[in-house]
């Protein structure tokens, strides 16, 4: 017998979970299909279209009166966020609220984009495999824990490249209960690593040359009828996508040796200046900014990184000790995010490694080290000098850019996905909790209705 397709298995499990979930909550008032709580006025038809035809919206939600963090560092005091179905339809002070819109009062609260996590695993996504769709579980309880932490999307990756770009990726959204809604932009990111040795670098240059040649041929054929476009040379597919700006190239470096428990190896620079410069050379070759995936010493050459339009994933707490005698150009620096931001380099933060924390442990580590508190790493970037207001970008706009998905997520702007948090204070304060989370315009988390943190009352 042919085995059941993995997706069908998931769907069956999902159906079972849905039935179970339904019976378990049957004594509670049912949530309406539009995501509005019971008792809310039924939305009526939106106002007639004016100049341009408005999208046909079934359901409107207006989050009113909160301090709105747009995700780019801007804060609008006591403003409104208007959600229509799964998208944000407007943010501002003078929005016209469609009649019948469901009103959420956020007075005294903070409204922010859902956090975008560049390194994570779990949250209903498969741990391995080449197609994220084969293993998604929209009823994974960890999704709710992620939402409680403010996480609404993360970059799922599988089998990255080594000496040339490769790997699969997908922005996975924490759309609890919605299998299709979990799949965000796919294959926006490919990865490779440095250092490349002389032969590898030569091979890489040759691939770039072939890709350029191919691009040139395509340009020459432009407008000419009846000619079949040539096939891209072998191995240049990912490079062409990077060069066209369809995919973002992440470059990781060689990790440093040693480690916190001591022993092993001599001093090592890790992803230091030499490796970063090679990554910058790659950026120049492909003609696009790249993403430096947790460099150690990007703070030494911020201008060189800014000049290529590259971006950086920073782990503010990780430590690489400087090489004795070369302190000015080696070793990590908690001010790295601040120094890079100062020259305009977008920076996302990630949670450090270690046996009890880090991205692979998800929400199962030690509090303050795992993804139950993704804001802690932004806090340490602030400790290193990043302005507090700008630090939200490390989890919002800049993180979304680094994931190649800023057209969809990472900021509260008209047309973006309605992934919105309502928080009870400054997003980066250690006592702040997520009260409500929307993903794709659907209410997916309420602190007072979920067991995790509702006992914490102040």
């Amino acid at each position: 017998m042919k085995p059941m397709h993995p997706l069908l298995t998931v769907a069956a499990a999902g159906l079972a979970a849905l039935l179970l979930a339904d019976s378990a909550t049957s004594q509670r008032p049912r949530r309406r299909p539009d995501g509005a709580p019971p008792g809310a006025p039924t939305p009526e038809a939106p106002p007639p279209a004016e100049a341009k035809p408005e999208p046909k919206v079934e359901s409107w939600t207006a989050i009113q009166g909160g301090d709105v963090y747009l995700g780019d560092g801007t804060i609008l005091r006591r403003a409104t966020v208007l959600i229509g179905d799964d998208k944000i339809r407007g943010v501002g002070h003078d929005l016209q609220i469609p009649e019948g819109a469901h009103i959420v009062d956020a007075t005294g609260k903070v409204v922010s984009p859902g956090f975008c996590i560049v390194h994570a695993s779990g949250f209903g996504a498969p741990r391995s495999g080449n197609d994220v769709r084969d293993g998604l579980n929209p009823f994974d309880p960890q999704i709710k824990m992620g939402l409680a932490a403010g996480i609404t999307s993360f970059l799922w990756t599988s089998s990255g490249g080594s000496d040339k770009p490769g790997g699969k990726s997908c922005v996975v959204k924490l759309a609890f209960g919605d299998l299709e809604g979990m799949v965000g932009p796919e294959d926006t990111v490919v990865s490779m690593r440095v250092p490349l040795n002389v032969q590898q670098m030569r091979a890489f240059r040759e691939l770039v040359r072939q890709a350029r040649e191919h691009q040139q041929k395509l340009r020459e054929l432009e407008g000419k009828e009846g000619t079949k476009p040539p096939k891209a040379p072998n191995g240049t597919e990912e490079l062409l996508a990077i060069m066209d700006g369809r995919k973002t190239l992440w470059i990781s470096g060689q990790p440093s040796f040693g480690g916190r428990f001591g022993g092993g190896g001599g001093p090592s620079e890790g992803f230091g200046v030499d490796q970063i410069r090679q990554a910058m050379e790659i950026a120049e070759l492909v003609g696009q900014g790249v993403v430096l995936d947790v460099p150690v010493a990007a703070w030494v050459i911020p201008d060189e990184i800014a000049a290529t339009g590259s971006m950086v994933i920073d782990d503010p707490r990780s430590r690489t000790e400087p090489i004795p005698g070369r302190e000015a150009t080696t070793g990590s620096n908690i001010a790295q995010a601040a120094i890079l931001a100062e020259v305009g380099v977008p920076v996302a933060v990630t949670t450090g490694g270690g046996g009890f924390g880090g991205p692979s442990i998800g929400t199962g580590g030690i509090l303050g080290q795992d993804l139950n508190t993704p804001t802690v790493d932004a806090c340490y970037a602030v400790r290193g000098g990043l302005p507090n207001r700008r630090a939200i970008r490390t989890l919002a706009l800049d993180a979304a850019r680094i994931m190649g998905a800023e057209a969809r997520i990472g900021s509260l702007q008209e047309g973006r996905d309605a992934d919105v948090l309502i928080l009870d204070g400054d997003p980066l304060h250690y006592k702040t909790f997520v009260e409500i989370a929307f993903v794709n315009g659907k209410l997916v988390y309420e602190k007072d209705r979920e067991p995790f943190y509702r006992h914490v009352q102040r």
């Binding site: 120094i339 270690g354 080290q369 400790r383 000098g385 507090n388 204070g425 980066l428 006592k431 067991p451």
Partner: protein
């Protein structure tokens, strides 16, 4: 930061309010624990202590706010230090700066006492401190490993940590004796506070791995502990009898000497213990049966349900680094919700609650709870983050600050020297850019024994 600045974020204002209220009267359920120290030794016989005075320049530190912890906050303060001690502190208009004092102006910084860490494995360079030579190892000690010149200690200073209890690892059931040391000193001898600082015992969640056939489970481990402690007690009693003129002079046994100090109550046992059943074992066997001065370190998972047992036994709790218990079934938090909740451990230990019993359990109170990192499990410099996470899940702010200063100092009984800003105490200070619990606040300067041991470089801050 100016406290009247209306642009101050709401949360900071709240935190500040709570910190300023630190000296307010304590509610009934927050009453303090009566820590069991045993019969206090009149003087150290087994333990050695560091120098009584340490040379240091005479400084007059100016800053926006002083949080002494054991007395009300002071706005716009001056703090005088000389020869390693605090000689005066108060509002700037009340403290005259005598001649010969160098003024160090720290502007809008906040001054708190240097932080105290009871669970540190990094005061020597990065060695593995888990050694099981015998089934129990009372002959082992960390004092020989203390080195001042290495990165982990410099990082500790950048995190405001000035005192650590440097203990053997938990891979061994009875791992040996720990050292109480400052995180800065010209020599380890100068940095020394007391040796032994404690005996380290580990009862579950690590020691199982190295004990082989002898004590792979709690049965065998408890038997090993009991036998060794019995031997130590006999040895101790023989010396006591001889000193009273009631018996022959015992033969000197170096491997039992430090156990003698344990039974003289010169220092406690710091017990790596977690999970209800195991922590109960700790309290019954070590504190109850042997009458030893006992501190729980870790105290994680569902051990918080013992809060009343601990408070009755006079056993304080240095909690962490996990800081929460995700209770998937029982949900025995203070609200007795039978659902999966993130139980904030320090808050539950402190406050007590139903904890699944038929009546509310007393908590260990404002003096009975500390936080720790188990460095390098969590980097030493992140001690205050442990506090932030404890406060996030329900420990009150003012208890949070105590949990990394005066409380751990009191548990280990060095509160006459460190843990708060008081005249005559060691000049161990940390100057923060704001609320010291907030991980966004950085340490501008750290002072140990009156010496400026760390100054922040804004282009390359250590932490």
């Amino acid at each position: 930061m100016n406290p009247t600045d209306t642009s101050m974020p709401m949360r900071t204002a709240l935190a500040l309010g709570a910190l300023l209220a630190a000296a307010a009267p304590v509610a009934a359920q927050e009453r303090s624990i009566d820590i069991y120290y045993g019969s206090k030794p009149t003087e150290y016989q087994v333990a050695i202590t560091g120098p009584a005075t340490v040379e240091s320049p005479s400084y007059a530190f100016r800053c926006a706010r002083i949080l002494p912890v054991t007395s009300p906050p002071i706005e716009n303060g001056i703090l005088l230090t000389r020869n390693g001690r605090i000689v005066a502190f108060g509002p700037a208009d009340e403290v005259a700066i005598p001649d010969g004092y160098e003024v160090v102006d720290l502007g809008d910084r906040w001054c708190i006492p240097g932080l105290v860490e009871l669970h540190c494995h990094v005061a020597g360079r990065g060695f593995d401190l888990n050694d099981t030579v015998h089934q129990t190892n009372p002959e082992m000690r960390t004092i020989d490993l203390v080195t001042m010149d290495h990165e982990a200690l410099r990082n500790a200073l950048a995190g405001g940590v000035t005192t650590t209890l440097f203990i053997p690892g938990s891979g061994s059931n009875m791992g040996g004796f720990g050292t109480l040391t400052k995180t800065w000193g010209r020599t380890p001898e100068e940095a020394l506070i007391r040796f032994p600082g404690c005996l380290k015992i580990a009862q579950a969640g690590n020691p199982e791995r190295r004990s082989g056939d002898l004590g792979l489970t709690p049965l065998g481990m408890n038997e090993g502990l009991r036998r060794t402690l019995e031997t130590g007690r006999e040895y101790h009693l023989a010396w006591e009898a001889w000193q009273r003129g009631e018996g022959p002079k015992p033969e000197l046994k170096p491997n039992l000497e430090y156990l003698r100090g344990l039974f003289r109550h010169e220092y406690p046992i710091a017990v790596h213990t977690q999970i209800y059943q195991v922590a109960l074992q700790t309290i019954r066997q070590l504190r109850g049966e042997f009458g030893l001065w006992t501190i729980i370190v870790h105290g994680t998972f569902d051990a918080y349900r013992l809060s009343e047992v601990a408070v009755e036994a006079g056993v304080p709790v240095a909690n962490g680094p996990r800081q929460y218990h995700f209770d998937r079934g029982s949900g025995w938090g203070s609200n007795s919700r039978r659902e999966s909740e993130f139980v904030g451990l320090a808050g539950e230990w402190f406050r007590g609650g139903m904890h699944g019993f038929t009546h509310s359990q007393r908590g260990v109170g404002i003096d009975g709870i500390a936080v720790n990192t188990d460095s390098p499990v969590i980097a030493q410099e992140q001690l205050s983050l442990q506090c932030a996470m404890a406060v996030r899940l329900g420990l009150p702010d003012e208890v949070g600050l105590r949990a990394m200063t005066i409380n751990p100092a009191r548990f280990i009984r060095i509160d006459d020297r460190v843990g708060s800003i008081e005249v005559g105490k060691d000049a161990d200070l940390a100057f923060y850019s704001g609320d010291p619990i907030d991980p966004r606040s950085f340490v501008e300067a750290t002072v140990v024994n009156g010496n400026i041991a760390y100054r922040r470089d804004p282009r390359r801050p250590r932490f």
